[in-house]
């Protein structure tokens, strides 16, 4: 059972990275990116191809994935960020779908629908299976912790303040001298890079990736993590991702009590519940489990300068 928990935690770690990346884009900057799964897929394949076809080590694959994510994110952002929010949503959604189609059809590169078998793993050779699992978990959790640290840093500095200002009303930071486009671009690209990195970790963890692994339900789960956890709150995304993975995996253990339903209905029910929870949270608790943190000033307010003049 602990091996299973290790597996679940590994998946959760990957979702945490995805959720944190989306939280930077959506929670802090207000960018509606429905293409999460596209960058995730891109990173997974880029890394897989780098390690399998070009014999790069795991770290090399990870770097290739991140660079690919940056390039794709940058191009997509240049194309669509100047335009209004709903535009970005549709274009990113289309990006994800197109990426999936390309990987499904270009067999010479990706193995097409039968997928890519990935033998490179972030483990030391010749250890037991469970030791390997722990090593993969350690790598993924390190990634998650680093991402969290990065996000907390970005959110907690004046940089994050500018992003939040852009989210609230882009005109205000613009008229105060902030180059809104550059901030948005940075936020989008950093998020894309992290999503691609998550894809790389995922690829080397599951070892077989097919385009079917990267369909819209994955994006829905990531969105749910951010919305449930609390947009704008980085720890919230961590908790949100854990909640979502728990609901998703935990529902497996409910199957015996749902004997009157067939397996198909159980799997449908799972998505009904997830979708409904998402809608309910947006409706009744838009701030999520953890509301956006209050940013306390660096200097506590002790003295109050009297009104002069």
């Amino acid at each position: 059972m602990d091996a299973y928990l290790v597996a679940i935690l590994t998946i959760a770690g990957i979702y945490i990275i995805l959720a944190l990346a989306l939280n930077l884009q959506f929670g802090l900057t207000g960018l509606v990116n429905f293409g999460v799964v596209g960058f995730f897929c891109l990173g997974a394949y880029a890394s897989g191809i780098a390690t399998e076809s070009f014999h790069a080590p795991f770290v090399g694959g990870l770097c290739v994935a991140m660079v690919t994510g940056a390039v794709a994110g940058g191009l997509l952002a240049l194309l669509s960020l100047r335009l209004s929010g709903d535009f970005l949503a549709i274009v990113t959604l289309g990006f994800a779908e197109t990426i999936r189609l390309i990987f499904n059809n270009e067999d010479w590169l990706t193995g097409g629908p039968k997928g890519l078998l990935i033998m490179t793993r972030p483990v030391l050779a010749d250890y037991s299976r469970s030791a390997n699992a722990w090593m993969v978990l350690a790598v993924v959790l390190t990634g998650a912790v680093l991402t969290l640290a990065l996000m907390l840093r970005l959110a907690g500095t004046p940089y994050g303040r500018v992003l939040r200002a852009i989210r609230e009303d882009e005109l205000v930071p613009a008229t105060l001298g902030k180059n809104v486009f550059v901030y948005r671009l940075q936020s989008f690209v950093i998020g894309s890079v992290l999503m691609a990195a998550a894809g790389s970790l995922y690829a080397h963890y599951v070892q077989t990736i097919t385009p079917d692994n990267f369909t819209t339900p994955v994006a829905i789960l990531v969105w749910m993590s951010v919305i449930v956890g609390g947009p704008g709150n980085m720890l919230g995304s961590v908790i949100g991702a854990l909640v979502v993975v728990t609901i998703y995996e935990g529902s497996r253990f409910l199957t015996p009590w749902l004997g009157f339903l067939d397996a198909e209905q159980v799997s449908a029910l799972r998505f009904i519940v997830i979708g409904t929870v998402l809608i309910l949270v947006i409706r009744f608790r838009p701030e999520g489990l953890l509301p956006e943190p209050k940013h306390t000033p660096v200097v506590p307010a002790t003295r109050r300068p009297a009104l002069k003049g």
Partner: protein
């Protein structure tokens, strides 16, 4: 030419749903991605009435329109109305979540098995070397009639006029004495019926299964966006454009990339229309 007929047949399926999508968009200013879900509901409703209950297909279609009208009205009342005033992105996310819920409710109730109408399959009629299946003739005519009927409804009837007035400027409509909530409800029901019709037409043309949801949502939304999200005529023309683009891709490129056509077209259109879906930016306060 054969290709054009085929494109028209595809367009005929998409058109009513695209018109419905446009109608909801102009009334409430949100892109309802649950469109595909509603079309699927329509297809299953028509199938239930036609195959297991043994009603004639036209009755199934009418029933589907009723069921869909109810479903759309319910979703508007329960899901979207309380969220009015939230950002477009939020509503988009909600509508995507809703489409997932709908798809899986259907899967829950009907299973993943494909279904087909109780409809004999026959060969085409041939005119001057052009093959025109009988069903295609039906699908195109019904869709054309429905689109024209909705166009006429909007253009010539008092309720249609009221609908356009409310979509144009709801607060003025209120001052001018129009029953705005009632007119909105009417618009929602018309849109729902159109989704139901599209669902029935899909069923005539395709196997009915819950996966229809995304497969149909994207081209429908693309058609509506190409059409400019304003007029039903625009949406119908948009449907023809999408139909042609898909046929061309399949014929001259690769059928496997057909799924990306809708998005590429949306991206191109929006690039030429950089103010995005909402047209002019709405003042925040």
């Amino acid at each position: 030419m054969q290709m054009f007929i085929n494109a028209l047949a595809t367009a005929a399926i998409l058109a009513p749903a695209a018109v419905a999508f446009t109608l909801i968009f102009t009334l409430f200013r949100y892109a309802n991605f649950a469109a595909g879900g509603f079309v699927t509901v329509g297809a299953f409703a028509a199938w239930t009435l036609n195959a297991p209950l043994g009603l004639p297909l036209w009755a199934g279609g009418v029933g589907a329109m009723g069921v869909c009208a109810g479903a759309v009205a319910l979703s508007d009342r329960v899901v979207f109305r309380p969220l009015r005033g939230r950002s477009g992105g939020t509503l988009l996310l909600v509508s995507i979540a809703l489409s997932f819920v709908i798809e899986n409710i259907i899967r829950f109730c009907f299973g993943a098995q494909v279904k087909g109408f109780d409809l004999p399959l026959t060969g085409p009629m041939v005119f001057a070397g052009l093959r025109v299946p009988k069903e295609t003739v039906w699908v195109i005519s019904i869709s054309l009639i429905a689109t024209l009927a909705v166009g006429a409804l909007l253009t010539f009837t008092p309720i249609g006029r009221a609908l356009r007035a409310v979509a144009d400027n709801a607060s003025l409509a209120n001052v001018r004495g129009l029953p705005v909530p009632g007119v909105e409800a009417f618009g929602v029901i018309v849109a729902g019926a159109l989704f139901g019709l599209s669902g029935t037409l899909v069923g005539v043309d395709l196997a009915i299964d819950p996966n229809l949801n995304w497969a149909i949502a994207i081209p429908v939304i693309a058609a509506a966006i190409v059409g400019g999200l304003g007029s039903p005529l625009g949406a119908a023309i948009g449907a023809v454009v999408i139909g042609l683009a898909e046929e061309l891709t399949a014929a001259h490129f690769s059928p496997t990339y057909k799924g990306a056509v809708g998005f590429v077209v949306i991206a191109l259109v929006l690039l030429l229309r950089p103010q995005g879906l909402l047209g002019t930016k709405v003042e925040r306060k």
